[in-house]
Symmetry: C2
Subunit: 324 residues, 2 copies
């Protein structure tokens, strides 16, 4: 079985070959720009890995890996418009560098190309692959809509939040593995176990993101902690605090989030103190562990060799117990 | 063979059944709203008609007809954001009634659903159907980008304009017929002839649109003529005039288009006079006839009965030689 690094390098080489030289340039420059920005490429590598794991030819899964990565990048281009995000991966976002119109349209085009790659699957598995792909695309849109809704709602529950990140983030990890497994010839039950495994990992991954954004070590995490607090983001930490805190603390936290505090450091520290007093960081860590454990139950039930399980375990561990 | 009206009624009944009851409501309300707004439904009926024509079961083509209509409506939702268009089919556009963000996201979702319906084709023809669908989706995006580019360019040629409307408008007519033909069991060469037929009809249809917008009879066309002139749209009429006019007239037309003339009537009449002096209305009619003739060459070469040819001829005639 190939290592993550080997698969990553195979994927990157192939993606470079797929650079668009079509016209109009205004449409394809933002697409090439976005695909070249990088990112961790976890999703497409998961697709290749799942195919490999069941003895499939990874060359056959490459178009689907590209489809997954293109789909993911399409969602980023559109999300950045909706979130008014000027920077992504250290560079200007498409809507900022070009325009919202170009971001809408190049995103749409990238979505269409994602389908063009997904469709290259063998006739015998095409319908199965596309079913997963379609369902996931729809769910990711639903997740993004919930995320937008929650920005202005003050009564979001932890349960609703978990459902939102399941749709917005976790299902695409699930689809990445499941589609690779289908291409690799896995039995449906094995593909479903991998999907369930990835869902737990995806949820843990996002909670870790929430945790690192507030409590991460700047030197390791790579960005200044507190971004979510400054943008009043209703993360797991925030919502869990509202659930656990007494009335006075809850009101204080809400008023901190609703105030336009000029002193950023002060706001971050006040919110962090509330979190700390309620042990929210530890509670979040325990919740992440719970997802990691759930993932491992799926992992152990898989009908694959011990070596492959170890490889998946290491990857899951790296995704969830990361510091950056 | 079913008539256009019969197929339209079958399609409308089926589309009503497909109304979404999923959540989040913020995502699905705009989709249901858009699909219920109506429109001529020419494209999905073309799909059913092509299937019927080759002896296929129209029930099998219904999901693709829905896919085509959903795709078309997705492009309208996004185009209306890009064009700042507040009204479509007499009602508020999605971005205006809700918000640009909701228009982006409900459009994306509708695009994903279009694929979900397209994918329901029989395994044996699925790849062929999706190839047409993908290529068309990409080309429609390219056409829209050219359209946006041409808004700010002053050196657009008639040839470039024709290529733009081919991509933005005509290819979807082509795909509608071709996909229906594939589902109906047509030989590839017959499906390709239908595609070519529809391309010519689509181009003629758009030129007729340009003509009616300026020279249409308000009582019949249903809207006040001159909209394109007031929004400085580089239509076939405008571009052909620039091609044929002497320097003085050309400069006058350009200055009329670039001025913010307070008196709308005056601007419309001045531009119309220039068009008239150069016989642009007749030249456009001749160009439309040329496309109609080209379409009929394809039509006559089709391996279908005389009755079917007559039905298609009448439809093409209605689309191109319409007054509204």
């Amino acid at each position: 079985m190939h290592s993550f690094e080997e698969l990553l390098s195979i994927f990157e080489d192939r993606l470079k070959q797929e650079k668009f030289s079509r016209e109009p340039e205004e449409l394809y420059s933002p697409i090439n720009y976005t695909l070249a920005l990088g990112g961790k490429r976890i999703r497409p590598v998961l697709t290749l890995m799942a195919c490999d794991m069941f003895g499939g030819d990874i060359n056959e899964a490459l178009p689907q890996a590209i489809a997954i990565e293109m789909f993911h990048n399409f969602t980023l281009i559109h999300d950045d418009i909706m979130d008014n995000a000027p920077i992504r991966r250290g560079k200007q976002t498409v809507y900022k560098k070009w325009s919202p119109n170009i971001a809408i349209l190049s995103g749409d085009t990238l979505f269409a190309y994602a389908y063009q790659y997904a469709q290259k699957a063998d006739k015998d598995v095409l319908q199965d692959v596309l079913s997963v792909f379609n369902q996931t695309a729809i769910e990711v849109c639903e997740g993004q809509q919930y995320d937008l809704n929650y920005e202005t709602r003050n009564d979001v529950s932890v349960e609703e939040y978990i459902n939102m990140i399941r749709l917005k983030t976790a299902v695409l990890f699930g689809a990445s593995l499941k589609i690779g497994a289908i291409i690799g010839g896995a039995k449906p039950i094995e593909a479903d176990k991998l999907y369930s495994f990835a869902l737990s990992i995806g949820l843990g991954f996002q909670l870790k993101d929430d945790l690192l954004d507030t409590f991460g070590d700047e030197a390791v995490f790579g960005k200044k902690p507190g971004g979510d607090i400054l943008s009043n983001k209703k993360t797991f930490l925030y919502l869990k605090t509202l659930e656990l805190a007494d009335t006075k603390t809850r009101e204080k936290l809400i008023s901190l989030y609703n105030s336009d505090n000029k002193n950023e450091e002060e706001k971050i520290n006040s919110v962090k103190t509330i979190f700390k007093n309620l042990n929210i960081d530890e509670i979040t860590e325990r919740e992440i562990d719970r997802y990691f454990d759930a993932a491992n139950i799926d992992l152990n039930s898989l009908d694959v060799s011990v070596n492959i399980k170890a490889e998946l375990y290491n990857l899951a561990h790296k995704m969830i117990h990361r510091d950056s």
